[in-house]
């Protein structure tokens, strides 16, 4: 059924975008050496802030901007503790997730019923008529296009620019980077906040485009999927896109199987697969020695940087 395949593909792409934004942001932060487990919390706060501003102004672009800003502000807390004060990144990140979930649930109470703006589908003329790819890729909303454009840009920035080199240096060997004049703290702070901006944008994609409206806990674990996708991608933005799309496909297939009454693969298995595949990739990569050089986790990931020994 080629028609059905295009339908599933369209929903798959739609379902991958929040994870893609968040994973790209987390990837940049981790490349600089900062592990931020607060993605879920930053997404929730971004989703709420985006929707709140949207409900006030009915302007989706402004709303998405507010969602980004809120995610960035949350990330600043993490950056202040881990980069500024050298606190444990795991503890601080987890706290951020708990804080974000509670804060958004509490502040969002009055907004549960509000209606806000929606990023409408913007089919690209010409391209939308392509078979299969037309509905799947080119009949989406602006944020979807943005996410797909951002992926190669981030890849290029990380691997082909001076700034990217400084970011990677901070994450691989902060002491040496520092010795050669890289402002490690500033880089790490900036990358963490950048990660928050994208997590916030991913969250507001949920509340302004994917499932419009504010619902408590509406990210439903997508922040954790994003973190898993960073590992799955072996810290390569292009593979993060592949991972996010895989997540999207698994999500869309759940709905498709349900809508057609097919029980080929139970939904619970499909929900589990992104995590299973992440672990499988890690194990495989380790055993086959694939994890060399670029495909490895940044060597200083999770380690606070300090000039004193």
């Amino acid at each position: 059924m080629p028609g059905d395949l295009a339908i599933v593909a369209q929903i798959a792409v739609k379902s991958s975008v929040a994870v893609l934004f968040a994973a790209l942001g987390e990837l940049v932060a981790e490349k600089s050496g900062v592990l931020n487990l607060g993605v879920e919390g930053m997404m929730l706060v971004g989703a709420l802030a985006g929707f709140a501003v949207g409900a006030q102004t009915q302007d989706p672009v402004l709303a998405a901007g507010a969602g980004m800003a809120a995610g960035g502000a949350m990330a600043m807390i993490h950056a202040a503790f881990t980069v500024g004060l050298g606190a444990d990144q795991v503890v601080s990140g987890l706290s951020l997730t708990i804080l974000g979930a509670g804060l958004s649930g509490f502040l969002g109470r009055p907004l549960v019923n509000a209606s806000g703006p929606v990023f409408e589908t913007l089919a690209l003329p010409g391209l939308k008529d392509l078979p299969f790819l037309g509905p799947a890729l080119f009949s989406q909303n602006v944020l979807v296009y943005l996410a797909f454009l951002l992926t190669p840009l981030i890849w290029f920035a990380l691997l082909r620019t001076r700034l990217g080199l400084m970011i990677r240096a901070s994450g691989e060997d902060a002491i040496s980077a520092d010795a050669s004049g890289v402002p490690v703290r500033a880089i790490r702070f900036g990358c963490t906040v950048f990660g928050g901006l994208l997590a916030g944008l991913g969250g507001s994609y949920l509340s302004l485009a994917y499932t419009p409206g504010w619902k408590e806990g509406m990210t439903a674990g997508q922040g954790w999927i994003a973190i898993a996708m960073v590992v799955f991608s072996t810290w390569n933005p292009l593979l993060a896109l592949a991972g996010a799309l895989m997540f999207g496909w698994l999500t869309a297939l759940q709905f498709y199987f349900q809508a057609t009454g097919s029980e080929l693969i139970p939904p619970s298995v499909l929900r589990m697969l992104p995590y299973v595949l992440t672990i499988a990739v890690l194990v495989l990569a380790n055993r086959t020695g694939m994890l060399k050089g670029r495909a490895k986790a940044p060597a200083n990931l999770g380690l606070p940087f300090s000039r004193e020994p």
């Binding site: 059905d4 339908i7 549960v112 929606v118 994917y210 409206g213 709905f255 349900q258 809508a259």
Partner: protein
């Protein structure tokens, strides 16, 4: 001071109790409600709250109302119900199934207080149950859909329980009747495709399931969840929908042709009035259009006048107590006759219904 007052109150109550055993008319009733979600949840609890408001309007200062929101667990429910019983409320309404055992327990400890439990089956001398025959509304909604020629409906169903199965069946029976009357060509084995949320409300899945159904060519989305997100998603895709619980059109789903609406107010008024009159006794209330409890929202402007008139005529029949929705012959999905010609499903059958009628596509999960 408070203790002395309490002692005095107890003494007065004891004397009253001695003087007027059993049926006593009351001047004023203090009614307490325990609510599942918040009163602005756009669904289940909003409907109950609308009922409370109707009760207050109808009885004015002869009723005093208190309510507690957001009681999701049985343990919480017991604490809250016991609290109201201790404060000498005359009647306590528990508005969701989860509270059944908690209320059953508290009711034993407070024989003077009256308890009403929504959608359960345990009763005591001082504890009744109440529910509404939503399936009658579903039947009318399905009938309207059939009259308008919708022959490939996608239903976003909630929990695979008899209540929901019954609703899907009633909708499908109405749909097939409507399709036959409007002479719409259709596949009689597959007019209503059912997918399950396995939850009473789940905005994200409601939205995406409705989108998937609409994208796959279903011509009408039947919302069954507490929130109207599936209707809203259908509207955004240009597919009409039918709302459930509250009027979905009021919450922004403007493509909704009609919503089947809970109308708890009539039950609340009836129950409290029974205490005022001294006629209250524990009953298993299960009201339909005959005694009030369900209603239809206003029709969308796109609904043809003739179709609306036909639906309202059916509604009048139901209001007169003529409920032949589950009259035989009715077969299940495999074609096996479940209710023979000339027979009718009893209330017991309806309350335990776990099979889909012919015309439904989809399975009931275990």
């Amino acid at each position: 001071m408070p203790t002395r007052f309490a002692a005095l109150a107890l003494a007065v109550l004891a004397i009253l109790g001695l003087l007027a055993p059993g049926a006593a008319r009351a001047e004023k009733v203090r009614a307490a409600f325990v609510l599942l979600e918040t009163i602005d949840d756009q669904g289940w609890t909003t409907c109950h709250y609308d009922g409370i408001k109707k009760l207050q309007q109808a009885l004015g200062d002869r009723v005093e109302v208190a309510y507690t929101e957001g009681i999701g667990s049985a343990a919480d429910a017991e604490r809250v119900i016991r609290g109201y019983a201790t404060q000498d409320y005359d009647i306590i309404f528990g508005t969701t199934f989860t509270y059944m055992d908690a209320m059953f327990k508290v009711a034993q400890d407070f024989p003077k207080v009256k308890f009403e439990h929504c959608s359960g089956y345990k009763t005591r001398q001082n504890m009744g149950t109440y529910f509404v025959r939503m399936y009658q509304g579903e039947y009318l909604a399905g009938y309207l859909a059939g009259l308008m020629g919708f022959k490939n409906v996608g239903t976003v169903a909630t929990q695979p329980l008899p209540e929901v199965v019954r609703g899907v069946n009633a909708f499908t029976i109405g749909l097939l009747k409507g399709l036959a009357e409007s002479r719409t060509a259709h596949d009689p084995a597959k007019v209503n495709t059912v997918v399950w949320l396995k939850s009473w409300r789940d905005a994200v899945n409601e939205t995406t399931l409705a989108q998937t159904l609409a994208a796959m060519g279903h011509d009408l989305i039947r919302q069954m969840a507490d929130t109207c997100d599936s209707s809203k998603a259908a509207c955004r895709m240009g597919v009409p929908a039918m709302g459930y619980g509250a009027d979905a059109a009021e919450y922004g789903a403007d493509c909704v042709l009609v919503s089947t609406v809970f109308d708890w107010g009539s039950i609340y008024i009836d129950r409290v009035r029974a205490i005022l009159d001294g006629t209250w006794k524990a009953e298993a209330v299960w009201n339909g259009f005959d005694k009030g409890g369900v209603s239809l929202s206003r029709f969308n402007a796109s609904v043809p006048k003739e179709a609306a008139a036909k639906v309202l005529a059916q509604k009048d029949q139901l209001a007169k107590g003529r409920d032949d929705i589950f009259a035989g012959p009715l077969s299940d999905q495999s074609g096996k006759v479940r209710i023979a010609a000339g027979q009718k499903a009893s209330d017991q059958d309806l309350l335990a219904m776990r099979w889909f009628v012919t015309g439904v596509s989809g399975r009931i999960p275990d």
